[in-house]
Amino acid sequence: MILIPPEQCRPVWQKMDLYLSKELGVAESVPLESHVEGCPYCAREVAMRRHVRSGLRIAVRSVTPPPFLEARVRFALLHTAQRPQGKRLLAPALAGVLILFGGSMAYELGYLRLTTAGQQHYVDAVSQRVSHLLAVGLRDHIECALFRKYPADAPPAEQLVKSIGAQYRDLLPIVTNHAPKPFRLMMVHRCRSNGRRFLHLALRDGSRTLSLVVTAKVGGESLAEGLVPELQQSGIPIYHGGAESFQIDALETPRHMVYVISGLSARENTELLRAMAPGLHRLFSSVEI
């Protein structure tokens, strides 16, 4: 069927875009709506234009930025903000260097990422804002979960359990049953950094990343030394810290420290660990990393 407006509908079609963009005043939109309700040609055309706009909005908003973009921008801002006063002339040069630095970086699977030196600088700058034991989990989250590429689809649970061992099978439902709904478990692995071994689960909801990080205590360290717990639920103290947009909550067992790190609000992050605390405490009091 060919859609060409009848002559009496031409004035309506001329204003249809304005109407759909809510740019028409009441005096013009009310008679237009009245016409559309009684005119099959115009009703069809309005529906068609809305259909295209809706499809466009959905398609464009389905695109998500790379997970490290926020970290990269924050690093650039931090670096610019930390320049001494009175050296404003260096700002364009520094920004230019950062852009050039970014432009010459190595590509990995089509994504731009910071070099090791740039990553380390960022991790150091952020981590120094929290206590050193909370920084243990924060560092692993930034190094391991932010600066990486993720698959488009969440891997199956069996594959994830296989990658870390059957003794941690109970860990996955503890995390997935309590994580906020949009988050999906995208990565589970063991990693090493600064002489420590970690068990690391990373969840994503498109643009945000949430980590559960577990590491063995070293040399008798304890979160209770130097930190005051935020909550005591079921007798399990939870320790909280924050740096930039990162929220860190941690609990400890006799041999392990367990962290939740994310860009959620402080309250949401703490509530998440609180909900998982009994299961996590039970599990990591009986298994080793």
């Binding site: 963009s21 740019e23 259909h51 499809g55 398609a59 389905s62 970014g102």
Partner: protein, 186 residues
């Protein structure tokens, strides 16, 4: 004191600006058609915004302010945007609204829509994105792009029409015909 004031300012800037990072990246990547350059431009836009933050009035439209800075940065990469010859705005605007445009398929995939969007000239594409996706008003879009409202209207009409033509071409390519009752309004 200066350090503390600077840290406070940065924290205020981040709380105002960072929530809009994803929207700015989406805009930059669709305008440039290049995700890696989009990251560079977005970073540059945030740096420029930070440097200008002392001129930003709290409580005003931070999102529109950021998009204006973004397009200023995008101009460095696409200097020929605003030399595109146009018909008289009012005539083109009216013309685009009443000429025949074939219907599109009831079901549109994201890939088809994004491919059609890529084919629209960049100056039309920017206005379509600002109004139809980011939901800025015509006046806000005009301010972001530093063009008259009449130019926003004409480019928007042309851009929407082109988008629909390209999508209708996709439907015809699949041999899909739409009848009056098949289109589901949004």
């Amino acid at each position: 004191m200066k350090t503390s004031a600077g840290a406070d300012a940065l924290e205020r800037f981040e709380s105002e600006a960072m929530p809009h990072l994803n929207d700015l990246y989406r805009m930059a990547s669709r305008v440039l058609g290049d995700t890696s350059r989009a990251q560079d431009v977005v970073q540059e836009a945030f740096l420029q915004a930070w440097k200008s933050f002392h001129r930003f009035e709290p409580g005003t439209n931070c999102r529109a302010w950021l998009f204006k800075i973004l397009f200023h940065c995008l101009n460095h990469y696409r200097r020929k945007w605003f030399r595109f010859p146009l018909l008289k705005d009012s005539e083109e605007f009216l013309e685009a609204n009443v000429t025949y445009v074939p219907p599109v398929a009831a079901r549109l995939t994201d890939e088809e829509v994004l491919a059609a969007l890529e084919r629209i000239p960049a100056d039309y594409r920017s206005v379509v994105l600002l109004v139809d996706v980011e939901e800025f008003s015509y006046r806000e879009a005009a301010g972001i792009l530093s063009i008259p409202i009449g130019t926003v209207m004409s480019r928007l009409s042309r851009g929407r029409k082109l988008l629909r033509e390209y999508l209708a071409g996709v439907a015809q390519g699949y041999g899909i015909r739409t009848a009056a009752g098949e289109v589901q309004g949004a």
